[in-house]
């Protein structure tokens, strides 16, 4: 009996690697520590009622951001491990299988569990405020989206210590990802983790499209919305049409693995190229999904810190919407070299080049906004200014890659790696950092320490260039991606060493950011009022942090940059508009169903991964029961009475 248990444990838990053992121990210790702290300070009830069952978009946003920062840490550690391994030829720090697991998890985590949740977090904390709404269209669904993401990410992450990580790359191409190439559990953790999380993403896409189209404050026309809201709309439209493709593709791979189907196998008439075709039909729009909101953030930051109305509003909107639409027509540029022929390649080369044009329009508009503005170099503004040259260069290397014949040289080399990291870090990460710093005071009522923030900024930027510029050269010198080692004779070491130094500089930058947050909390300086930056848009017209109901009275909007216009009217001596009487505010109740339902999905996914139907089927039944429970619940909201609104407003605004 004991032998059987030992046998099972040795297959269940990942063993044999000191790094992994270290991770298992520290995860165990952290869990114990968390449980201890919660019990000692008697915070279980608080956690449940204030956070786990909350349907408040502001809290959901904060939870998304916390999760993404933790994932940034894990993905970053993966990167540092790889860079260490590559710093010298034929190093034996990471063996090939382990290296494969690390680049796979690095990619999945950074894109799906770091960038996406950080993005959704920013959507949540501020979009309702920007449009003068009290919450999103479907608060319950919003909470469900978060918990689906959380449990999907947990399922993926747990594979590291239980069962084994996936190792077939972040997009898991068949036939390697089929049972024949990957008989282990890692690939199934991959499928279920991403699938569960993806359902949450799709729901968020729908939620914000409805919110933006239908819940704007009275008077706010579409062409008067803040640019960030337009960018969220265009991104969410893209999410709506791209994510179902991912859902199907992963499902088909699962059916291949679980039921012996032949969608993408090498035998039985299967065609692996169909997977590549389908996964990139999702994959290309996905990268536009993450960059469009970053563009929106830059528009907000630039106009706020140049104290100037955004230049070219209409063309900015047109650019966002056309990028969103045309992103669905470029996908084959990810597999130019895989045999589709000249006609197909020529078409997609052309569409790829064309899509660079609207982005160019946006860059010029940001520059024109800054021209003759009165610029203050706050950290959000610095991140924005740094983004422009970085992303433009990264985008240009993209156009180089879009030349299909040239791509036969670049494909899967370090040139490609440098390109996509440049646009993802220089575009997406810099943008979301700018947003985080910009809206931090609105979320928490205090701002982050500027000085430490500038240290983080410089280390990130210098580290980025030091890490990735050599990689363009390495690519041109022939270094291929996903190699865990290389020969001394290749002459690649010097540039690899430089690149590794750059990576560690970025790691240092991250430590500065953590220090910045800790320092700012410790030396907490409450914001004087809700308008941290002398802002232009509606979120700055309410206290920080925003009250539960956001706006005591829904704002009446008459123009773009409504809050700025309102301040100008007040400054020019116009009499204040008479305030409408307060009315009870209709709010959604908390619900435990999103958390429980997502937990059931986790259980079902875990069961399917291990092929334990005794776990998987009850899990799915749990999901169904949760959905029915929701369908049968009619008591799902309440009203905040007027006197409570009055008290809250007095307390928040009284302390000016």
């Amino acid at each position: 009996m004991l032998d059987k248990i030992k046998q099972f444990a040795s297959e269940f838990f990942v063993t044999g690697d000191p790094l992994i053992l270290g991770a298992q121990v520290s995860i165990g210790l952290s869990l114990v520590a968390i449980i201890f702290v919660l019990t000692f300070f008697k915070k279980w009830r608080w956690l449940w009622t204030e956070w786990l069952t909350s349907v408040d978009h502001k809290k959901i946003g904060i939870m998304y951001i916390i999760a993404s920062i933790l994932m940034l840490f894990r993905g970053g550690v993966d990167a540092l491990l790889m860079r260490v391994q590559l710093a010298a030829p034929e190093l034996e720090f990471l063996h090939a299988e382990h290296y494969n697991q690390i680049f796979t998890t690095h990619g999945v985590i950074m894109i799906l569990f770091m960038a996406m949740p950080l993005m959704f977090g920013l959507f949540n904390i501020v979009v309702p405020l920007l449009i003068g709404a009290r919450d999103v269209a479907f608060p319950f669904l919003n909470s469900l989206s978060f918990w689906m993401f959380f449990f999907g990410a947990m399922l993926f992450n747990v594979s590291f210590i239980i069962g084994g990580s996936p190792d077939a790359g972040w997009l898991a191409y068949p036939p390697l990802s089929e049972m024949s190439g990957s008989p282990g559990l890692g690939q199934d953790f991959y499928i279920w983790g991403i699938q569960i999380s993806g359902i949450g993403s799709l729901a968020t896409g729908i939620n914000f499209v409805v919110t933006i189209l239908k819940m704007r404050a009275p008077g706010m026309k579409l062409m008067q919305m803040p640019m960030f809201v337009w960018s969220v709309l265009s991104s969410c439209i893209t999410i709506m049409f791209a994510f179902p493709i991912l859902t199907v593709t992963l499902f088909l791979l699962f059916i291949d693995r679980y039921l012996g189907a032949h969608f993408f196998t090498l035998d039985g008439g299967g065609n692996p190229m169909m997977y590549i075709n389908l996964i990139w039909m999702w994959g290309h729009p996905e990268v536009y999904i993450v960059i469009l909101p970053a563009f929106g953030i830059f528009s907000e930051v630039v106009s706020t810190f140049a104290k100037k109305k955004l230049f070219g509003y209409k063309s900015m909107v047109f650019a966002l919407m056309s990028i969103s639409f045309f992103s669905f027509f470029t996908w084959a540029h990810h597999f130019f070299t895989m045999g589709s022929g000249a006609n197909v390649n020529a078409f997609f080369a052309l569409t790829t080049m064309l899509i660079a044009i609207p982005t160019g329009v946006k860059v010029f508009n940001w520059l024109f906004t800054m021209y003759q503005g009165r610029i203050t170099f706050t950290t959000p503004m610095m991140w924005t200014i740094a983004f422009i040259p970085c992303f433009v260069v990264g985008g240009m290397t993209g156009v180089l890659l879009s030349v299909a014949p040239a791509d036969f040289q670049f494909h899967n080399s370090y040139f490609l790696i440098a390109h996509f990291h440049q646009v993802l870090i220089g575009g997406v990460v810099f943008g979301y950092f700018a947003g985080l710093y910009y809206w931090w005071p609105k979320m928490f009522g205090f701002r982050l320490h500027e000085g430490i923030g500038k240290w983080a900024f410089w280390f990130w930027n210098i580290g980025f260039y030091v890490c990735f510029m050599p990689q363009y050269a390495l690519g041109l010198m022939g270094m291929t991606r996903r190699f865990n080692e290389y020969d001394f004779d290749m002459g690649w070491q010097p540039l690899n060493v430089v690149s590794t130094v750059g990576a560690f500089l970025m790691g240092l930058a991250f430590i500065f950011q953590v220090w910045q947050i800790a320092h700012s909390i410790k030396f907490y300086k409450k914001e004087k009022d809700g308008d941290a930056w002398d802002g232009r848009t509606l979120e700055w017209s309410i206290p920080s942090p925003a009250p539960l109901y956001n706006f005591a009275r829904l704002p009446q909007v008459t123009s773009q940059d409504e809050w700025w216009e309102e301040k100008q009217r007040i400054a020019s001596g116009e009499p204040a508009k008479p305030l409408a009487p307060l009315e009870p505010i209709h709010m959604p109740k908390n619900s435990s169903i999103p958390f429980i339902m997502s937990l059931c999905w986790f259980i079902a996914g875990f069961g399917f991964v291990w092929d334990w139907l005794w776990m998987a089927i009850p899990g799915m039944i749990g999901v169904a029961i949760c959905m029915l429970a929701r369908s049968f619940s009619y008591d799902t909201d309440y009203y905040i009475p007027v006197d409570e609104i009055e008290r809250t407003e007095a307390a928040l605004r009284g302390t000016k």
Partner: protein, 213 residues
Amino acid sequence: MAHAVSTPAGAHGGHGAGHGGGHHDDHHDQESLKMFGFWLFLITDVILFGTLFATYVVLRLNTDGGPTGAELLEMNGIIISTFLLLTSSFTSGVAVLEMNKGNKRGLILWLAITALLGASFVFLEVNEFMHLVHEGATIGTSAYWSAFYVLVGTHGLHVSVGLVWMTALIFQLSRRGITPVTKRKVSIISLYWHFLDVVWIFVFTIVYLMGVM
């Protein structure tokens, strides 16, 4: 967000005055928000099925030397299934008409008929699958059959989920009657049902008609 009040008339009047702000529109908007949200969800389901159709079309000739659709698919059962589903789409429309007339019993009756027709459809489909497996065409036989089972089966699963949902709704209707909330729920499920009929039209055409041509 569900409607705050389950008693009709009452609380609405209290907020009904001409205040043009968003608050007054809150309750009413809830139901139309949910209709719009569901419509968008249906569009994402269109993409989902579209991807399955694309996969089917690409793999339709990949029978790996094994049995083909033309050999094994039987049109008689499919003709019956198709008319069952078509009729159920019609009966769901009649249910909505009953609802608009305020006739709770008529609404429930026609929803139940719709569900029965849907259940017959699923029953015939399960039978068909069992027959095919018996004849040697499983999901693992070839890429063609993998695509067949997943495309047709996903539609069947959607119908089955719809049946459970319809049953739950019938329970809620019998308890609570016709309210703005239950009206919205009926409208949404009937939209879902019509959508499934549309998908079936294309399954019928592309998988079955083109399969036996």
